[in-house]
Symmetry: C2
Subunit: 189 residues, 2 copies
């Protein structure tokens, strides 16, 4: 990100990144297939295996419970290992102006989504409604993503530097979104 700020992302080469990091380009490519994948690698991309194991060990439950516990696991992980706001902001800004970085970021988010879907499927077992694990993972990622985007663009706010309240707010909005019929009056929100 520093090289991108100094030279423009298009001008940054893997040789330059490797030289800065004190490694060979060959070593760079052992870790990352491209500079795009390297630069988005500082955004959340997976839950730690032990957290996923604990989640899976909860066993089959109502889809709502599974969604709640999945978003809780994600929020706990963000609280334990918070991403850096300015860094996430800069990566998102770079992605919005650079299609190849945007594509790498979308691919990273989708890898995260797929790892969550696999954990939900494992937890719910073969009797789960078809399509539910993917949907739970996709909806959880929707809350994470919209929360992270508001957090990362809210650089002027005083106080907490954590994305946790933003993601929690997105989860609360999700429930408002699908509130039961009797609250669904037609009025301006």
């Amino acid at each position: 990100m520093r090289l991108a700020r100094e030279h423009g992302f298009d001008k940054v080469t893997v040789d330059m990144i490797s030289a800065e990091a004190g490694v060979s380009p060959r070593t760079f490519f052992n870790y990352f297939p491209s500079k795009e994948v390297a630069v988005v690698g500082r955004t959340p991309g997976a839950l730690p295996p032990q957290l996923l194991d604990t989640f899976v060990a909860g066993g089959p439950a109502h889809p709502r419970t599974v969604l709640e516990e999945l978003t809780r696991a994600i929020v706990d992980q963000m609280a334990a290992d918070p991403p850096e706001r300015q860094e996430v902001h800069d990566i998102f800004m770079l992605a919005h102006g650079t299609p190849s970085v945007f594509a790498a970021l979308m691919t990273r988010f989708d890898g995260f989504r797929q790892s969550l879907a696999a954990a939900v499927a494992q937890r719910m077992g073969p009797d789960a409604d078809e399509g539910i694990p993917d949907l739970i993972a996709t909806v959880a990622m929707a809350a994470v993503r919209t929360g992270m985007e508001r957090w990362s663009s809210d650089l002027t706010t005083d106080g907490s530097d954590s994305p946790v309240p933003y993601v929690e707010r997105s989860v609360a909005l999700l429930h408002l979104l699908l509130a039961p019929d009797h609250t669904s009056t037609r009025s301006a929100p």
Copy 2:
């Protein structure tokens, strides 16, 4: 897609695609920045402007109502102009094995999502909860995407060749997912 099936996607060039289509490579590049973007261009990527206008004209409403009308608009459009199942299946399969195509597909889905979020924001006006338009669009896309994926991989099914019942099923599952507390008993689904 036919050239990709015959030669492998990596071996297909813009020159080959242009020759098959009877246009110059220059004309190809007037429409598509790359062969990846061309190949994913047969998946749903936006709603027609008149459908979006009708949706926006509904005016401010409860977020749940807005989500329902947005998913309804998407389903109506799919019913009016149904994608071809084998083609969508082949594009998804190609994307799963080819990172550059996968990235192009994710970018296309995200452009769809952004166009929906803009329409929701326009409809709900400046008084809407911050974050709600993005979340509504993201959740609607989650239903579309998971429905389309089940439909496109369900090639053995007799009967309807339309993705509509699959997307409608994902929307119904969404509501199950966020059903009110009193149904949230802890039991195997």
